[in-house]
């Protein structure tokens, strides 16, 4: 057990500090997402007792599990949003937070993402997108850029990147944003907005994997990716003026969608309330 004083005050408040240092590789973006999320929670002054973390399988699922204090459900690959649906329906007063990777959320669990967004259930999903399956050593994922050589695309990927945030926006979520680990301050702000929104909120965070993905593209330092994010990022307002060709290879960042559709669990509660009233009459 480490001395309390060596950690951030906010780490002591929100993290299981006995689990630190993290198991992440040096320079891994997951650590920056962890750091930013800690900041977001602290500024919102949320009580860890009100938080439920639900995660899947993959490096980024280790951000909440085991590091964050809060009730934690570390589930099977691809399914955290489905598990979170059950949690939220039964515990509507708790903040249900899913932090997981692109393989988990957009790959094997892609259907759950779309339908949770469509239901507009009050869950905050933070998708850490590192463009590959990192935990298994660097294989192509639904978000790997076209043409990139990975463990399972030795001749270059023949598939195009899934724009997960745009898909979620179209599916009906109340809040959708995308940032990168280079944009730490707006990333923290977007996390806070997502946590405040009632309804399905989704923040895609492009985050570096300098080990598994980095070895494929010969970018072995975290900073190599952060520089790339800085170069390739285009604010959503500007992106709206650009053509598809101009946007090829760019990372569109910012708030992609905000709307105020009715939330799923509160609707379920209203139905039960109405049922009781009709029964009484």
């Amino acid at each position: 057990m480490k001395e309390d004083k060596i950690f951030h005050p906010r780490a002591n408040k929100y993290l299981r500090t006995e689990m630190l240092p993290t198991a992440f590789c040096p320079g891994c973006g997951c650590g920056t997402v962890l750091n930013g999320f800690l900041q977001a929670l602290d500024e919102l002054k949320l009580d860890p007792k009100e938080l439920v973390f639900v995660t899947g399988i993959g490096c980024s699922s280790w951000i909440p599990s085991p590091y964050f204090k809060g009730d934690t459900l570390h589930t099977t690959h691809g399914r955290p949003i489905a598990f979170a649906t059950g949690v939220k329906v039964m515990k509507p007063d708790m903040k249900v937070i899913v932090i997981a990777g692109d393989g988990d959320i957009a790959g094997i669990g892609g259907n759950h993402l779309i339908h949770a967004a469509r239901r507009n259930i009050d869950i905050s999903v933070f998708m850490v997108n590192n463009w590959n399956y990192g935990m298994t050593g660097g294989q192509v994922s639904p978000t790997t850029p076209f043409g990139v050589r990975t463990g399972t695309t030795p001749y270059g990927s023949a598939e195009h990147q899934l724009e997960a945030a745009e898909v979620v926006a179209a599916a009906g979520a109340n809040y959708v944003a995308r940032w990168t680990t280079y944009h730490v301050f707006p990333m923290v702000k977007a996390m806070q907005e997502a946590l405040r929104v009632k309804g399905f909120s989704f923040v895609e965070i492009i985050a570096q994997c300098p080990v598994s993905y980095g070895k494929m593209v010969k970018m072995r330092r975290g900073s190599d990716f952060l520089k790339l994010y800085k170069e390739k990022s285009v604010k959503v307002e500007k992106a709206r003026q650009m053509s598809d060709e101009e946007l090829e290879g760019k990372i569109v960042v910012g708030k992609l969608k905000e709307r105020k559709r009715t939330e799923f669990v509160s609707t379920l509660r209203q139905i039960n309330e109405r049922f009781r009233q009709e029964l009484a009459n």
Binding site: T72, H74, G86
Partner: protein, 363 residues
């Protein structure tokens, strides 16, 4: 209808969350749950598939709910991974599988008993499972309540292994007064009690109690924290998870036996097949053949003691079942006497006459 009885059994057991996906011949369970759950302030969610259905019920249980899902063969196959998750995380919940003819889409609307071994071994890794199989609509109701009670008592997923025949069968049922129903309370403990060890069945802390419960399907220590590299942690955990069911098998076994002196032949059966089998046994006796009857109500853990007892009594065991010999293979493990499967597949259930003829031919 058996499906409706399963739904009402769940409601009587206090189920307040159901997640499901439509599938023949189990959809009626979902429909009743969707209609009736608001009455007890429960919630129905129709998920996007069966994988998310079982996921959602496990989530609901950790959020303090009592939950069930229902499906049939194809959906049951999809749920296998998370059956293991529920076992590993010791999540009390109920899964109804109204078996239909397979493999694959098979005869979607026809009954079968082809999933009995999948129920036992479908999920990966070492595990023990509890599965109950009703033979009537009335029993479907009571066994669903039993399934909830066993799930709470042993903190595990329990399968109600119905078949399409019983699921879609309409027959008379009496609902007992609520006060006559005994429910197993969820075992809870003090805040510092480990949720994943320290007892064969540890007390369960759920979300929202401020206890920072950590639930993972990975190998974990008694406090729930992941430890996937220590051999002894895995061995202790999995041995306990298997042991808590295996050691209690005497309490979990449920059978119906009807023996008579001098029987040379025994009939062992379960589920819908038990109905014509029972008829055949009674008819054979009327015609002068001494025959023993054993019905397995709990399929898993396998009531091996009862099977041994039957095997000691008779010279041959007939096993009518709606598959090509799944339980008869299990029976063979406990006797060296001949075990003859009477198989019917293709969506037709045995007739009394044909089982009776087999009894007389072997008696």
């Amino acid at each position: 209808m058996g499906d409706e009885a399963a739904a009402y059994g769940a409601l009587y057991a206090g189920c307040n969350f159901f997640a499901g996906y439509p599938i023949t011949p189990a959809s009626e369970i979902a429909e009743v749950m969707a209609r009736e759950l608001p009455r007890s302030d429960g919630y129905y969610v129709q998920m996007e598939d069966e994988i998310s259905s079982i996921s959602a019920i496990i989530g609901a249980v950790w959020a303090g709910g009592k939950a069930m899902t229902a499906t049939s063969g194809p959906g049951f196959s999809l749920m296998q991974e998370n059956i293991g998750y529920a076992i590993m995380t010791e999540t009390p919940c109920v899964l109804v599988n109204v078996q239909r003819s397979g493999p694959s889409t098979g005869q979607a609307t026809k009954p079968a008993q082809g999933d009995v071994l999948q129920a036992r071994w479908g999920t990966h890794g070492d595990h023990e499972i509890i599965a109950l199989s009703p033979s009537s609509v009335q029993e479907t109701f009571s066994l669903t309540i039993e399934a909830f009670n066993l799930s709470e008592k042993y903190r595990t997923l329990v399968i109600l292994l119905m078949d399409g025949e019983i699921g879609h069968l309409r027959e008379n049922i009496t609902f007992p007064p609520l006060e006559e129903i005994t429910l197993q309370e969820r075992k809870t403990g003090p805040a510092d009690a480990p949720s994943f060890g320290g007892a064969a069945v540890p007390p369960m802390s759920t979300f929202g109690q401020g206890r920072f419960v950590h639930v993972t399907g990975s190998t974990h220590k008694e406090n729930g924290m992941r430890d996937v590299s220590t051999q002894s942690v895995h061995q202790e955990l999995v041995t306990r998870l298997c042991g808590k069911i295996r050691d209690a098998r005497g309490e979990i076994w449920r059978i119906e036996e009807d023996y008579m002196p001098g029987a040379k032949v025994g009939v062992l059966t379960y589920g819908a097949t038990a109905r014509p089998a029972k008829g055949a046994v009674l008819e054979a006796r009327r015609q002068g053949t001494a025959v023993d009857f054993l019905r397995l109500i709990s399929i898993w853990p396998f009531p091996e003691e009862a099977v041994r007892k039957l095997a000691d009594r008779v010279d041959v065991i007939l096993v009518p079942e709606m598959n090509l010999g799944q339980i008869s293979r299990e029976v063979e493990r406990f006797t060296s006497k001949p075990v003859l499967p009477i198989s019917r597949i293709g969506g037709v259930i045995h007739r009394v006459e044909e089982i009776k003829d087999e009894i007389i031919a072997n008696g």
